[in-house]
Amino acid sequence: MRLDWELARRGYRRYAAYPGATAAGLFTNVFFGFLIAYILLAVYDQRAEVGGYDVRDALAYVWLAQGLLSIVASFGPSWTELALRVRSGDIATDLYRPVDLQRALFAQDVGRAAYQALWRAVPQFLLGALLFDVTIPADAVRWLAFGLSVCIAITVSFGVRFLVNLTAFWLLDYRGPALLALTVAHLLSGLIVPLSFFPEPFGDIARALPFAAMLQAPIDIYVGAPLGGSIAGVLALQLAWAGALRLAGRLVLAAGTRMLVVQGG
């Protein structure tokens, strides 16, 4: 536990070392937030409600999605960092350390997410909420569920990125798979538009997949339009994906390690 805490702090500090980059990233997030907000406002010019979202929900979605983007690391080095270590063979030294690799990386990723939440997502959402008329939930339970959902989203996002990185054990190229995974994640996580905007049954299918658990799930809870109407249901599905990805990550890492030992890298 002590080690996890130290690793998380390292993950946090790694990003805290570049406040200029944080400010620049925040600026870009806000700019994109404006663009998407204007585009959705043009849609709501003609509709009072789309897929269960009214205009205030849609605006809340815009600023939440931009904020969650940095927390769940939609872009950035974490999609290929470990893959690079696998390719270069440096992974061998990681595996010899007396710590669990998956757990150690997760702890660092939590530190990273905490930094991004504190310095990018929150300020950026507050700014969006100040400039646009967004939904603000009144009851504490929903806020609590939203916070919990974001935490699980980080776990799920880590699980997905961990698996994508591990493909480097078998595939020669690490960049192509990462780009493909990023494409799928963007499409199916609700980042480009809320999944309920998609034609049926596409949106419902996407909501059942792990990518939705990275971004759409917490937003649905926030605006009060969870799948099937139950907050508990959404959280349960997220938790199930988090557990499944953790298990899958362990199995795949073990298989990759075995191959490394057998083939000698």
């Binding site: 200029g20 980059a21 600026f27 404006f34 043009a42 798979p177 780009l179 990023l182 480009i192």
Partner: protein, 267 residues
């Protein structure tokens, strides 16, 4: 000029040859980056699942905006996309290395990389543009037909100029390069929509400061023969090539000035 062009081709040829050692990877990356970029168009399609038109523009008209802007931006990205790494070039001394070679610094920076995978973005833009051209209801004339390639080239020049001018920020603040993304990637993202849907400050920004409105919006007004709801002069719809030249000249001046600053202050 001819010699500079030849040197540029030689330099990027060298980069491309290095990458072609890994053909399968490059092919996969081309496909993946085409798909990732295409998501912006998927967003448009999903929105039009829910509405018949956006501020009076139908889906095929928005697709035309997207197609022109996407190809222009993809060309730009191919040529100067690695300016994302420009701060690193300054930090690790690569830029100093460039300054002791007998070629213009801008040419060398632009020629310092060439990622074949970015070709994927061009391909998806072409695909969408073809579909849009087939679908739009246009009374084709020679002028309208000629405007399409002209707009693409002008747009590429505008994006390139904007990108280069903004990248010079790195001479002053090294870790703030992501600000540039707002105007490059962000500029490309907004070019796919009629600028009338954006707030007034944003419209003025893309009309007068960073003239991205000339990439696709004005050429599309001409091709589609639409009235301009902003009530701006009609001449603007033909102005993209001129704007492109102005942006290129301005970018060149900004660059020279920034390098001069670096050489007198930097190191």
């Amino acid at each position: 000029m001819v010699e500079l062009g030849r040197n540029y081709l030689r330099l990027i040829g060298a980069r491309a040859r290095g990458q072609l050692e890994y053909r399968t990877s490059v092919a996969l990356q081309i496909v993946a980056s085409a798909l990732l970029t295409l998501l912006d168009f998927v967003m448009i399609l999903v929105l039009f699942e829910n509405v018949a038109q956006l501020d009076g523009w139908r889906v095929e008209e928005v697709a035309l905006l997207y197609g022109i802007a996407a190809i222009a931006f993809a060309l730009t990205d191919l040529v100067v996309g690695h300016l994302d790494l420009f701060p690193q070039m300054i930090r690790d001394g690569t830029f100093d290395q460039i300054l002791v070679r007998p070629l213009p610094s801008l040419l060398q920076v632009v020629a310092s990389d060439f990622s074949l995978r970015r070709i994927g973005k061009i391909l998806q833009g072409i695909a969408v543009l073809i579909v849009a051209l087939v679908a739009v209801d246009v009374d084709w004339t020679l002028g309208r037909a000629a405007m399409i390639p002209l707009a693409v080239v002008s747009g590429a020049l505008i994006y390139t100029g904007v990108w280069i001018a903004l990248a010079t920020v790195a001479f002053w603040i090294v870790d703030a390069i992501e600000v540039v993304n707002a105007f490059t990637y962000g500029g490309n993202f907004l070019s796919a929509y009629p600028i009338t849907i954006f707030g007034r400050w944003l419209r003025n920004l893309v009309l007068f400061v960073i003239p991205i409105a000339f990439v696709s919006y004005f050429p599309a007004l001409y091709v589609l023969d639409r009235p301009d709801e902003l009530g701006l002069p009609d001449a603007l719809r033909y102005a993209s090539p001129l704007v492109a030249v102005l942006v290129a000249v301005a970018a060149r001046l900004v660059w020279e000035n920034a390098v001069r600053h670096y050489r007198s202050a930097g190191g």
